[in-house]
């Protein structure tokens, strides 16, 4: 019984439910939004520390033994992702207090936010492939509602594309799960991994692997399946954009990492080239798309796509170092990308627009905001000593070691192009003087999402931005301990036997509490594998 694995899922669900009970009480919902997310951060820290010492933490829901019930598993990758969910959740909780209009709050903004976090944490922690689908849907339904909250024309148009393509991905995922169950007769991911190793190869396994790759590729916004993302991510209110940008696509990337390192590791030889070139094209198209844009959030949306390419590159190279680099890229990107969106929200609050041409002069007016943007933007481009540099450094080194020179070359070139886009934003928003024809001078009282004048409670917006910028800086300055964690992730993912033992081994033993856990686990796994057909 390890409650820390279940709590990151249960707590946001609970906060969401309590928040729903206070449907009419805006102050109460706002209080729960912060308190619930603080609690989520605390339990995710607990889970992270516990995983750091134990390696794997499993919990069988309802005490059903492993391949039959639903398993919750945390390995290093899950724990890091859940920790980041907690951090981003709290940042968003605080930031939303200042940016969410009353109209949005009345229609359930905060309960939906909690539900979304529950879905994300559930997807990171589940060890059951159908359960992963369910958490995906929990997350998606919440994100649909958040995306359309407000009901402007752009939101509707973006939402139709977002909903259609994500549902299509879900159906492909569900179809693959159905076929997988028909082929192997199990839904537990560790059990699937075991049975796939001994299953006869009829071509079905390859088909399934490709179906999972396409389904998660759509969700992760990889080339050529990313078109829903730049069409929709700049339409909702900025806190929602930031939350989506930070977490949603990363759930797709996480699932790719999980499925292709655990279950379909033997098909990697077959899919590696496709994935590698997919990653390269994702990086290049994303960054080129961003270069053509002149709207703050659209540029950032295309950069999400571009950065997804780096993460998938880590998976495609498929060495422990490359996977560590991919995980580093995920972690760094969640922090930095969320922060850039948050900064775009502050500049919108100050100048009333996202159009770069109409903005300007913020370096003189808000030097600290400029510093926060500078840190995040240069970190995204991979300038030392910020967090992005080390993510890219590890990936490039892994790429050179694996002999993938072309892909590595593209990764470096895309870094330069990222710098171009970031410098473009820097020049237009912070450096140049405010254009005289800007109708919204920065001294005017800022306007909320629903068009009403709001109190300028900017400190609630500055606080998360400052903390996240500091995190990016600290990850860069103290890269070694972070890299140790990432190396552990790389090792764990490339040796799936540890995960399988942790899930299937511990559950077979009701009397396991008496002896030392290490010996029992080894014994039980032997027994477990004999039982298999």
């Amino acid at each position: 019984m390890r409650p820390e694995v279940a709590l990151p899922v249960l707590l946001p669900l609970l906060s969401g439910a309590i928040s729903l009970l206070f449907w009419r009480s805006r102050p109460m919902q706002r209080f729960i939004a912060v308190a619930g997310n603080v609690a989520l951060l605390v339990v995710s820290l607990w889970l992270f520390v516990a995983t750091l010492s134990d390696g794997y933490i499993t919990m069988q829901m309802g005490n059903w033994p492993a391949p039959f019930g639903i398993t919750l598993v945390a390995d290093m990758l899950s724990a890091v992702m859940v920790l980041l969910t907690g951090i981003i959740g709290l940042a968003m909780g605080i930031y939303s207090l200042a940016t969410t209009g009353r109209g949005h709050e009345k229609f359930g903004y905060y309960p939906l936010m909690h539900l979304l976090l529950a879905g994300v944490a559930g997807a990171f922690l589940t060890g059951d492939i159908f359960n992963l689908y369910v958490w995906f849907e929990v997350m998606l339904v919440a994100s649909f509602a958040l995306l359309t909250l407000g009901g402007e024309r752009a939101q509707m148009e973006g939402a139709i594309k977002y909903v259609t393509l994500n549902l299509l991905a879900s159906v492909i995922f569900l179809t693959a799960v159905g076929l997988l169950y028909g082929t192997l007769g199990t839904l537990n991911m560790a059990d699937i991994a075991l049975r796939l190793d001994v299953a006869e190869h009829t071509g079905m396994v390859e088909v399934l692997a490709v179906m999972f790759m396409v389904a998660f590729g759509i969700k992760a916004a990889a080339f050529p399946l990313f078109f829903w993302l730049p069409a929709s991510y700049h339409t909702p209110s900025v806190a929602v954009s930031a939350l989506f940008a930070g977490l949603l696509t990363k759930v797709g990337v996480y699932s790719l990492f999980r499925v292709f390192t655990l279950m379909f590791d033997q098909t990697m030889g077959y899919l590696q080239d496709i994935m590698l070139w997919g990653a390269v094209f994702t990086m290049v198209t994303g960054v080129l798309g961003a270069a053509a844009q002149h709207e703050f959030r659209r540029i950032l949306s295309f950069h999400i796509v571009s950065q997804i390419g780096y993460m998938i590159l880590g998976l495609a190279l498929y060495t422990p170092l490359a996977i560590a680099g991919g995980a580093f890229a995920i972690m760094h990107n969640i922090v930095v990308k969320t922060n850039l969106f948050l900064i775009s929200g502050i500049t919108h609050r100050l100048q009333g627009t996202y159009q770069l041409k109409k903005m300007g002069g913020l370096y003189r007016e808000r030097p600290w905001l400029a510093v926060a943007f500078f840190i995040s933007a240069f970190s995204l481009a991979g300038i030392p000593p910020l967090s992005g540099f080390f993510a890219k450094f590890v990936l490039v080194r892994a790429g050179l070691e694996a002999g993938a020179y072309v892909a590595t070359g593209f990764a470096l070139a895309v870094g330069l192009m990222t710098l171009y886009s970031m410098v473009k934003i820097w020049n237009e928003v912070f450096w140049k003087a405010l254009p005289e024809d800007n109708l919204v001078p920065s001294s005017q009282t800022p306007v909320g999402d629903d068009g009403r004048l709001v109190k300028p409670s900017l400190w609630m917006m500055y606080l998360p931005v400052g903390v996240l910028a500091l995190m990016s800086l600290l990850i860069g300055l103290f890269a070694e301990p972070v890299m140790n964690v990432m190396t552990a992730i790389g090792d764990q993912l490339t040796t799936p036997s540890g995960y399988i033992e942790a899930v299937l081994g511990a559950s077979v033993s009701p009397e396991g509490a008496l002896a030392s856990p290490g010996e029992i686990q080894a014994e039980e796994t032997e027994n477990g594998s004999e039982d298999l057909p």
């Binding site: 339904v141 549902l167 569900l174």
Partner: protein, 115 residues
């Protein structure tokens, strides 16, 4: 039974994709609906269809006698149906709102947010 089901499922997938490729948003949602139904039927069929053998354990025994139907895909399908129902209900509301705002049942008129 399985070949018939396979044909029906294939037809459903094909119809769904055809509907989704039309320009009308109403047909788009009908396509999504057919698609999720096709996936549900597929899960039901691939797990093997057993006729008239409910997975019940007779009193006093530890396991069922003879071959019984696999209850797990049925539970999975049930969950998937509920999820699809919720999501499609949302999609129907979404297209209604979109129609009210855009005043057209045409995806080609909804390209403002594209680049």
């Amino acid at each position: 039974m399985e070949p018939l089901m396979a044909l029906a499922i294939g037809l459903l997938y094909a119809t769904a994709v055809f509907m989704m490729l039309r320009r009308s948003i109403v047909k788009l949602v009908i396509g999504l609906l057919l698609l999720s139904n096709a996936a549900n039927l597929l899960i039901f069929t691939t797990a093997g269809m057993t006729r008239g053998a409910p997975p019940l354990i007779p009193e006093g025994l530890q396991q069922p006698l003879g071959e019984v139907a696999d209850p797990l895909p049925q539970a999975v399908v049930l969950t998937a149906i509920v999820i699809a129902f919720g999501v499609l209900a949302f999609a129907v509301v979404l297209i209604r709102r979109a129609y009210e705002i855009v005043k057209a049942d045409d995806l080609d008129k909804m390209k403002e947010t594209d680049t």
